[in-house]
Each structure stands twice: as structure tokens, then as C-alpha cells.
Symmetry: C2
DNA sequence: GTGAAAGCGCTAACAG
DNA sequence: CTGTTAGCGCTTTCAC
């Protein structure tokens, strides 16, 4: 067993009495080598503890086998699961995840240079702060990018997204069983594309009926912001009939605040809906009515799409929209 | 602007009228280059869109600048945050995270070969399935490893961990305000080192008094397993006075099950404590009394330790134990 | 099927 | 301070 120096293909070749390129061939799948040579090489390789050096391979093949995944730490609470899914599914396609964090738009230039330096084969962006204008830079350098959970209107991007329009339609249909009059839309932050989209969809749908009274508040997707927004609202206004939250965390915050500090019963006095299908929002004390994102399928779509773009760089931009599932919880009053 | 071919340092050198090594020097921090050359190189480099190729650099310096981080998907719910912290703190030390998932012990051999292939500078293991016997393999190949949130008794490992002993002592002290007699210890899975440690500490502390009646159940750290375990227990036994859960998710599950299906009031009829300080466990409906892990400091310790081991491979194994903070929630009855 | 030889893009002595 | 010269460990023609 080697202890200090790394074993190279030359060492193995010498020991096995073959050429270095023979060793190389044995370790590259699908290359023709005689069974005899293969066995001999494999045996000495194992004995010497040889492993091909991926770095050297990258240098020559110009394929790093790595995909940059960009996350933010103020992330959507779903991302842990998304991330391990991404890693697993990319591993199945023989790619690794090189992780980058992006917490503010300012450091995006840096990030770009970093990613370029590492010669990644492609990029999956989970981070809200990854602005779609950045796409041009990547395109210029022929680095395929897939945006996860994003819907870019002008459609020059590869995106994978849950069907927000349909989902919010379903949620509003649920709410309307009670014929509410006063709605509050609790949006995510203004710098989040998804938050903006969900909010606008809700507002447009609600605008269709003149009878609806609709107000908007802005949180930051967090539990606490759900609480704070509701508390602030109730200082000057009566409780609305229904609150449409841009995600589940805020919905849970709203529910807790309503119950704890305002003696508002959910769902009897007020209905609340969320979005995402985050596990905690289904806990008995909340049972938020929400749209569950088809996480595994979304990730699969994103990975498939990226691989496709890596293998065939000329593929035109594509948006895949998957349908979420309505979870009928207990946060909407039933007649 | 280049469109197709990648720009190399030779291209820049030719264009700027200097040698290739001059270009190399400009892009390596801390090397002496005259201001004039530097400016000229930088200008043409920018003009041509040149970025040094990290892969080539890795090959020659034998430092990949990458750290393998091993996670599992059935992960501790804290890991999202841990992961982005790790990524951020490693980035500050000029290292990137190469992510690997490990979901079952069987694939660990594969994982090891993968990691070796990528020539990572070090490894941080967050995954419960990463068995400490594996350490020998890494040591043999001089790859430093730090185990996060793990306490390996025989101490031949670099570990970073929260002080479980102290934490559980504090939790039990809280519980004992009501002088409970019947305890239930709800442990995490038997194949988790941390779960085993937390369970044994609790059992040992409780054994000290002959008056205590203590039983043990095994969950899998999930919310649902908390519910299931309690339900199963209550079929044959009366409710205990106090339940000590190995993590917060199970504690929340226990609380929901008790309230919803058994009309047990928490904390009046039964006290529950958790461990970790997971955000959701502090939501008003639960307010679990727990120990909050000092996440940021733990990550910092792990990263510091790893960098230290990378720079100085001879450093002896070290265990760093940080103290968590007791969160007095509302899941323990007060007299 | 196999070996020889030429690099991939860069860093690191080493002279000048 | 700058340029020249060897490689890092591998893949990939190209003869044989």
C-alpha cells in the first residue's frame, strides 16, 4: 500500500509490464482492451491502490464533470431536500455538485468568475438573488444554465417551475367556498421573482370580481415576517376573511399570530392558504391548505434539461412547468 | 469578446507582448510583477475575457481547492443551514464545496473512490451513515477528515460536537422541577452515533435515582416517528410524566400525537424535551424546551480544524466540544 | 489490440 | 523583475 506518494498510471504500467496508455484504456469505460491486459492492469492497480486522477482527465477532456449549484442561505426552506436530490440525481448522470452561495446581488460578479475558473459543465441556480440578467454572461461563455423554481417571462432561459397560475387558482377556488369579501395577499420579498409572480397571479385572479376587497403586504418568506405582517395589519384594520400567503412559512406565522395574540380562530374566523407544501406546514397544529410542489420531478426536470444542454449546446431555451398538488388542510373554513 | 475557443494564458501573453509566465504571475496573488506589466496584462486579459483555468492549476499544485462535504438526504433538518454555512466559511478560506450524498452504508466504498478521484483537499462529514471505521481509509491516503456533530469515543478522529452531556443534564434538571417518576426516552435510530450517545447519556443520568422508571423507544428522528412511537406506547401503557426526545422533530411529533389523538395536555399532563433548537420547534404551538446547537460556531470550528489539518497534516486528532444553549420553552410543566 | 508521442493550461524552478 | 524550460497525470491520435 502506498503511503506518501500518489500512484500514477505510469507506476501501474511499469509494474504490470504494459504501456501507460494501456492503463488509461482500462480505466476508461467502453474502450477495447484484451481481457488479459485488463485483468493484469486491474490487479496491479488494486494492489498499488491506484485511482485515476480526475483533475488530469478534466484538463484534457475539457469536461470537469462538475455542475455549479448556486444557493442562498436565506433560502427557501425546501432547499435542503432539493439540494440532496440534485446531488443524487446528478451523481446518477455521473456529475458532481460544486456548491456556491450567493447572498447578495453584489457578489454575483465574483461568483461568475469563480464558476468560470472551475470550468464547470453547467449551472443550476436555486438562489433567488441570481438575477436573470446574468444569463447573458453565461451564454457568452457557453455555460448552460438552468433556473430552478423560476419563471422568466421573456423566455430566453431554461427554467423549471411549478405551475403557479393553476395552483393559485385552485387555492382561491378553495377559499371561495366561503365567499370571502376581504382578502389579504401576503407576498414574499419584492426582489424575488417567484414572490412577484405568485402575488401578481393572485391579484389578477381576485381582481376579476368587483366584490373583492384586496390588500397587499410584503414579508420576507420567513415565519416571523408572517407574524409581524399580520400584527401590523391588525393594528389598523379588522381581520380579513382570507389571507393568501406566498409560502407556507409565512402562512404558519400568520396562523400562530392570529391565534396567540388576537384570539382569531383559524379557520372559523379567518382562512389562510400557503404555497410549497413544506413538511412543517402539515403538522397537526397548522394543517395549512397549500400547493405541494412536485419536488422530485422538478429536480429531475432540471437535471435532465441541464444534461441535455451540456450534450447539445444548441438546444433552444425551454421552460418546463409541472403541476403541483392541492393539499386540502384545515386552514380554510368549510361551510 | 471570444465566443468559441477558450482563451489561455498564451493567447494573452502573445497579445500583450509578454511571456506566458508573466501572465501566470499576474494572476497568482503575492507574486512580484512590475506595475507596468501587470497593467498591460490585466488590460488585455479583460479585453479577451481571460480567466485562469483552475483545473490546470490544480493538476500542478496538487491542491484542488475543493473540500468534499458528505451529506445524507434523510438528514438532520438543520443541515440546510449547516451546508450553506459550510460553503460560505470555506469560501472565505478560498475553498469550494464538492457535495456528495451518502444514503446507505453500502455505497460508502464507491463514495470513497469518488472522493479520492477528485483529489479533494479534505472532507467534512455531516452524514450519519459515514461510519467512523472509514476514517482509516482516508488517513491512509492522507486526506484530512472532520466529523461534524459526532463524538467518536476512541478519539482518533477530528470531531466537532455540541456538548450533549451538559445539554441533557440541563434538560433533565428542567424536567425534575416536577419530580416526574416515569420517563420515556425516545431515541433516534440505532445506526446513528449521535442518537446512541444522547440516549445513553440520558439513561445514565436517569439511572442515578432509584425512583425513576425509565423506558426506551426508537424512532428515526422524523416527526412521524415521534407520533408513531407515542401512539404505540400508549396502546399498552399509561402516559409517562416526561419524554426525552433525541431531537426536536420527534418532540414535535410527540406533542401533536398527544394532543390530537390522546387528549393529553402538554405540558400539564406530560412534559416533553427535544434537542437541536430547530426553528420550527419554537413556533408558538409547540415551544419545545430544547438545547439549541451553536450552529455557526460549530461550523466555524469544523472549518478551522479542517484547514489546520490541510495545512499541517501532522496535527494530532482533536475533538472540539461546544456548549449549546438551553431554550426554556413551554413543553415542560412548571410547578 | 497495443505502444509511442504529443499535448491539455498552468506553475515553479532557474537563469539572465 | 522577466523569460525559458520542464513537467503535473492523463487522453488521444497514429503507426504498428
Amino acid at each position: 500500500m502506498n503511503k506518501d506518494k500518489k500512484v500514477t498510471s505510469y507506476d501501474v504500467a511499469r509494474e504490470a509490464g504494459v504501456s501507460q496508455s494501456a492503463v488509461s484504456r482500462v480505466f476508461r469505460p467502453g474502450l477495447s482492451v484484451s481481457q488479459k491486459t485488463r485483468d493484469k492492469v486491474m490487479e496491479t492497480a488494486n494492489k498499488m491502490g491506484y485511482r485515476p486522477n480526475a483533475i488530469a482527465r478534466m484538463l484534457i477532456t475539457k469536461q470537469s464533470g462538475m455542475v455549479a449549484v448556486i444557493v442562498s442561505s436565506r433560502a427557501n426552506i425546501n432547499y435542503p431536500e432539493v439540494l440532496s436530490q440534485v446531488s443524487k440525481q446528478l451523481a446518477a448522470r455521473n456529475k458532481r455538485v460544486l456548491l456556491f452561495t450567493l447572498d447578495d446581488a453584489e457578489s454575483a460578479d465574483d461568483l461568475f468568475e469563480q464558476i468560470r475558473t472551475f470550468q464547470v459543465d453547467g449551472v443550476i441556480a436555486l438562489a433567488a438573488h441570481f438575477e436573470s440578467q446574468r444569463l447573458a454572461q453565461f451564454k457568452q461563455h457557453n455555460i448552460p444554465v438552468v433556473l430552478y423554481n423560476r419563471n422568466v417571462p421573456d423566455a430566453m432561459a431554461n427554467t423549471v417551475c411549478c405551475n403557479h397560475e393553476l395552483g393559485i387558482k385552485q387555492l382561491i377556488a378553495e377559499l371561495q367556498i366561503n365567499q370571502p369579501k376581504n382578502y389579504l395577499v401576503l407576498s414574499g420579498p419584492k426582489d424575488s421573482d417567484v414572490a412577484n409572480e405568485r402575488r401578481e397571479i393572485a391579484l389578477n385572479l381576485l381582481k376579476k370580481s368587483d366584490e373583492n376587497h384586496v390588500s397587499v403586504l410584503y414579508g420576507d418568506y420567513s415565519y416571523q415576517s408572517g407574524r409581524d405582517c399580520l400584527a401590523k395589519w391588525l393594528k389598523k384594520h379588522p381581520a380579513p376573511d382570507a389571507i393568501i400567503c406566498s409560502n407556507d412559512s409565512m402562512a404558519v406565522g400568520v396562523i400562530d399570530e392570529a391565534r396567540e395574540n388576537h384570539k382569531i380562530h383559524i379557520p372559523n374566523d379567518m382562512s389562510v392558504v400557503g404555497f410549497d407544501g413544506y413538511a412543517s406546514s402539515s403538522w397537526s397544529s397548522y394543517q395549512v391548505t397549500t400547493i405541494k410542489q412536485p419536488l422530485e420531478q422538478l429536480v429531475k426536470a432540471a437535471v435532465d434539461m441541464l444534461i441535455e444542454r451540456i450534450e447539445n449546446p444548441e438546444s433552444p431555451p425551454e421552460a418546463r412547468v409541472l403541476t403541483g398538488m392541492l393539499i386540502k388542510g384545515n386552514s380554510v373554513r368549510r361551510p
